[in-house]
Each structure stands twice: as structure tokens, then as C-alpha cells.
């Protein structure tokens, strides 16, 4: 915990993120570039043809959608228990990114579903619980905007984020718990051929680096905005 508090003050965060950011940006470019190159060079899948290309953008988007929600839940816990201001900033900064990854997961999944399942959408457990994730993100962001007092908004949003976190394991294990049209675990069960595994892992890393880069930029922006606001308040006083 001491480690966390040392680096989780705004001043230290600005210094540290300034050092780390160039590396995560380079990581994003390299991983996405190599992943796209290998992905488009891979042969068609024997069952799915070239729609396997959608795997390389659908699974990373969906994984990030859930991972970002997890990050928000952890930040919310830190905010509720230790009342750390940076954890509120971090949670709020991540939410629009998570919502966009969720939209991308839904849209790319739909566009994959039509040629493979014959339908864009079906109300099965995986798809429905994933749609619920989008609603949680929207509700979370709406709550932040609805309450004017920032401390109260942060508390309410943090509680919503923690309650909603129960949906994450439901999404993850929905393909095991219920009969779904969505396929089950492919990656962790080692069923993905190496020729697809390499571009897939690179795209996963690329999406991860992209999120971390954007998250840091957005937290840095919020810290500057807060400084500007407090300067304005001092000026007005």
C-alpha cells in the first residue's frame, strides 16, 4: 500500500507517467503494426475463412472492455476505503475508454456473428451480459455528470462501479454456465493455431498499450484541469 500511495499523488503521477508514456506509445505502434501485418498475412481458417481476421479486433476490444471495468472497480474500492483523490480521477478517466471498447466488442462481434451464425444478435447469456456492461458504463458516466458536488459524485459512482463488478465474472463464465451461441474458451484452452496466435497476442498487447497510454493522457488532463480550477477559485476569492 505504501508503494501505491507514494506514486498515487498527482505530482508523482505527472512525473512518472511523463517517463512511461513514450514507451507505451511506442509499444502501441509496434504491437498494432506487427499484429495487423501478421494478421492480414495469415491464411484463411479452415472453418471460418477470412472472418478469422475479426478475431484480432473483437477479442482484444471485448477483453479490454472487461479489464477496464475491473480497473475502475479497483480504483473505486481504493477511493471508498482510502479516500484517495487520484483514484477517483483515474476511475472517471478510464470509463469513456471502457465504454468505447464495449461498443467495439459489440459491433465487431455482431459483424462476425452474421456470416458465422447467420444472425447479428441473439439474446444469449454472453451477448446479453456484455450489453449490460455497456449500460453499466453509461450509467456510471451519467451518475458522474448528474451530481454537481464532485466528492458526492465520486462516492456514488464508486458504489455503482463496485455493485456492477459482479457482472464481470458473469460475462467471463457465461459460456461455461449456460448454453450459448457464442463459442467457449478458445485461446486459454490452446485451440488457436500458432499462425493465428501470434497476431492475436500482438493485437491484445497493442490494445492494452493503447488503453494505458490513453488512460495516462486522460488522467494527466484531469490533473491539469483540477489545478486550473483551483487557481480560478483562488483568483476569485
Amino acid at each position: 500500500m505504501n508503494f501505491l500511495f507514494r506514486y498515487a499523488n498527482p505530482h508523482e503521477f505527472m512525473r512518472l507517467s511523463g517517463v512511461v508514456l513514450p514507451f507505451t506509445v511506442i509499444g502501441t505502434a509496434l504491437c498494432l503494426g506487427a499484429g495487423l501485418y501478421l494478421g492480414f498475412s495469415a491464411p484463411p481458417d479452415y472453418q471460418q475463412g477470412r472472418t478469422v481476421l475479426i478475431l484480432f479486433i473483437h477479442v482484444p476490444a471485448a477483453t479490454m472492455a472487461m479489464g477496464v471495468y475491473g480497473a475502475i472497480a479497483v480504483c473505486s474500492l481504493l477511493s471508498l476505503v482510502w479516500r484517495h483523490p487520484l483514484s477517483d480521477i483515474a476511475a472517471r478517466a478510464a470509463a469513456p475508454l471502457g465504454a468505447l471498447f464495449t461498443v467495439l466488442g459489440l459491433v465487431t462481434g455482431s459483424l462476425w456473428g452474421k456470416p458465422m451464425w447467420g444472425t447479428y444478435w441473439v439474446w444469449d447469456a454472453r451477448l446479453t451480459s456484455f450489453l449490460l456492461l455497456l449500460f453499466l458504463y453509461v450509467g456510471y458516466l451519467a451518475l458522474w455528470n448528474a451530481i454537481e458536488d464532485e466528492t458526492r459524485a465520486a462516492r456514488a459512482a464508486a458504489i455503482l462501479a463496485l455493485v456492477g463488478a459482479v457482472n464481470i465474472p458473469i460475462i467471463k463464465f457465461s459460456v461455461n454456465w449456460w448454453n450459448t451461441l457464442h463459442q467457449g474458451e478458445t485461446i486459454t484452452s490452446g485451440k488457436l493455431a500458432p499462425v493465428f496466435l501470434a497476431p492475436f497476442l500482438l493485437m491484445m498487447a497493442g490494445y492494452g498499450f493503447l488503453f494505458v497510454s490513453l488512460w495516462m493522457v486522460r488522467i494527466r488532463t484531469s490533473i491539469l484541469e483540477r489545478r486550473a480550477r483551483s487557481l480560478m477559485q483562488q483568483g476569485a476569492a
Partner: protein, 47 residues
């Protein structure tokens, strides 16, 4: 690299196109917000 999608181009290209637009869009939006905040703060600090 092979850009021949066979029968599935109508699904694969929109999936890639929408992902590219959203991810590039959110990146540009975040950079613009950062620049705006930085400019505002330096204006206030000069006063």
C-alpha cells in the same frame, strides 16, 4: 499481406473500419483535451 476477403469483405472491412475510426477518434480527442487543459493552465499561471 492478402486483402482478398472472399465472400466476407462486407463484414470484415466494416469491423476494421469502425474500430479504426473509434480508436483513432478517441486518441485525437484525448490529445486535444490535454492540449486545451495545458494551454488553459499556463494562461492562468501567467496571470
Amino acid at each position: 499481406m492478402n486483402f482478398d476477403m472472399g465472400l466476407y469483405g462486407a463484414y470484415i472491412w466494416p469491423a476494421y473500419g469502425i474500430s479504426a475510426i473509434v480508436l483513432i477518434g478517441v486518441t485525437l480527442w484525448s490529445i486535444a483535451a490535454w492540449r486545451r487543459a495545458k494551454a488553459k493552465l499556463s494562461r492562468l499561471e501567467k496571470k
